[in-house]
């Protein structure tokens, strides 16, 4: 008696079972990658992380490009009276930013708990970190 060839129903079923999760995984990965590609330069995330600490700053991400109040936020320091973030609150700002940009958690942790920093410099640093990670 000849042995049954290994291209029968069971093999096809096994192949399908293997393929389905792999395909679903790759679709999900593509979706995540597409989502991350929208992140671009991290400026919106910096504004959102600041706004989560101080009610003096508001962000409207429903518009493209987003709008922020005060409109010159990046030209101000964290401890500017129009932003009013303290050194202690800086560590919470960093945690907010880490939630929004988990792919650069390492560089974000290097940011000093220094409210005397210029928000624009932090935004530049975040952008550099995102670009060097290849997140475009």
């Amino acid at each position: 008696m000849k042995p049954t060839p290994k291209t029968g129903k069971s093999m096809r079923r096994k192949a399908r079972r293997r393929a389905r999760p792999a395909a679903a995984g790759s679709v999900l990965k593509r979706m995540i990658a597409a989502r991350e590609a929208v992140v671009t330069d991290g400026a919106l995330q910096v504004c959102q992380a600041v706004a989560a600490v101080t009610s003096l700053v508001t962000v409207d991400a429903t518009k493209t490009p987003f709008t922020v109040k005060p409109p010159d936020l990046f030209e101000r320091k964290f401890n500017d009276p129009k932003v009013a973030i303290s050194n202690e609150q800086m560590s919470i700002f960093k945690d907010n930013l880490t939630r929004l940009l988990p792919q650069i958690a390492g560089p974000i942790s290097q940011i000093a708990d220094n409210a005397d920093l210029l928000i624009g410099d932090v935004s530049d640093f975040v952008m550099d970190a995102l670009l060097s990670k290849g997140n475009r």
Binding site: R35, T62, P81, M90, R99, Q110, D121, D128
Partner: protein, 432 residues
């Protein structure tokens, strides 16, 4: 003589009437995303500035500008997108034919504004990294608490010092600190010195909402989550772990090595009333533990004297304390106010310690370390800064400070009122 004076006056008038110029401060080039950001010295006219690609000419010729736009969050910048390969950002040269900008509320125009790329990408990244990793310069380092004097409740004045330094240790989250609270007035001198290293970790209370903000797909979702965040009161919590040397400033007759761990909850910064002229923020530290060992508990001669005080001091060994506290900052500024009071800063902080073991303490009556004590020890401080005027470089006014209670390690009782003239550099609010 008259002619010379007239010429001088004419020159001054011409200088005064000279229109403001628009300068390029920085050009940031990101070849990875084919983007150039040009940052100017003045705010550009929002909505009125020419964003036409034909308004910009660039070199080298092998790149083509494909778009010009304003930059969210930057009033003094324009963002350009380009096509083509830009190998060396230093060789980039841009010319804006005409740009309109603001000086105060007046609109001015500048023609042929030239921008030149100068920095390599690696150099820029290193410069920015150095900028954002530098440790804080506390406000006490910037202040000159000029003519500062201390007045105790019973009278008398003398000089005072309140110094805090935070040198960089180069490890994320880890900072070193040195704090001295010292005056020469008996009854107004907390004799407090603390120096050590602190690791700090912040935990946001908005983690869930921020995660949802990332995945929100519709405008409605985004605005709902943004509103939820802006309506919340608490920003997050901060964990502190510190190892420090406490000393009786400045003789170190009492010194302890202490480890500290604590947690504090911080509010978001909230606007003061409906206006954006002021804000308040607060923190509550529900619990912290300080534990360690006494290194020195007063004079050894007294310890060996065999008197009850000496025996008690000799027995001082372990340190165990529970600490709780709260604080609030209130700020108001009205630069256009008709009255002379332009800016008010109020800081209120209180801390309470419960000492589980007896510790060496300073005796105000004998002016010696000849007693021990345990139990509750509290300290409160209220600082009020009233600014009367401001120049381009500094602001000036008065500082009033009220301190009451006692601080480790000497637990010298303080009840004092400080008053001084204040001259403070205003680089904390100057826009860059």
């Amino acid at each position: 003589m008259r002619l010379a004076l007239a010429l001088f006056a004419a020159a001054c008038a011409a200088l005064a009437q000279q229109p403001p110029t628009l300068k390029v401060e920085y050009v940031r080039v990101d070849p990875e995303i084919s983007r150039i950001e040009v940052r100017f010295s003045e705010a550009l006219e929002a909505g009125g500035v020419n964003l036409d690609e034909d308004n910009v000419t660039c070199a080298p010729d092998d790149i083509v500008i494909t778009g010009v736009a304003t930059v969210p969050g930057r009033s003094r910048a324009l963002r350009l997108t380009y096509k083509g390969a830009l190998a060396d950002p230093a060789k980039l040269s841009l010319t804006f034919k005409k740009l309109t900008f603001l000086r105060g509320s007046a609109i001015h125009a500048a023609e042929n504004v030239k921008a030149q790329g100068s920095e390599s990408i690696e150099a820029r990244r290193e410069r920015v990294r150095r900028l954002v990793t530098q440790q804080p310069k506390p406000s006490s380092q910037k202040n000159i608490f000029a003519s500062g004097f201390v007045t105790t409740a019973s009278g008398g004045t003398t000089g005072g010092a309140d110094i805090a330094l935070n040198p960089d240790l180069g490890v994320p989250g880890l900072t070193s600190f040195v704090q001295i609270k010292k005056t020469t007035q008996e009854g107004g001198d907390p004799k407090n010195f603390e120096g050590g290293a602190r690791y700090r970790k912040g935990i946001s209370f908005e983690r869930g909402l921020l995660r949802r903000l990332q995945t929100a797909s519709t405008a409605d979702d985004l605005s709902r989550i943004q509103n939820q965040i802006s309506n919340s009161w608490w920003a997050g919590g901060v964990f502190d772990f510190a190892a420090k040397l406490e000393g009786m400033a400045t003789t170190f007759d009492i010194s302890n090595f202490v480890g500290e761990t604590g947690f504090q909850v911080l509010t978001r910064t909230k606007a003061l009333g409906g206006s954006r002229k002021g804000f308040w923020r607060a923190f509550v530290a529900p619990g912290a533990i300080e534990g360690g060992q006494s290194l020195r508990a007063g004079d050894t001669t007294l310890q060996k004297s065999g008197t009850p005080a000496g025996v008690a001091l000799k027995q001082v060994d372990w340190i165990a304390r529970y600490k709780t506290g709260l604080g609030m900052t209130l700020f108001f500024e009205d630069t256009e106010a008709a009255y002379p009071l332009r800016r008010v800063e109020l800081d209120m902080n209180g801390v309470m310690r419960n000492l589980f073991f007896a510790e060496a303490m300073y005796n105000k009556q004998t002016k010696l370390i000849d007693r021990t004590g345990k139990g509750v020890r509290a300290y409160g401080q209220i600082d009020l800064k009233l600014y009367m005027g401001e120049t381009a470089k500094a602001r000036y006014g008065f500082k009033l400070s009220y301190n009451r209670g006692s601080l480790p390690p000497a637990f010298a009782r303080v009840k004092s009122f400080q008053f001084g003239f204040l001259w403070e550099s205003n680089d904390d609010t100057q826009q860059q």
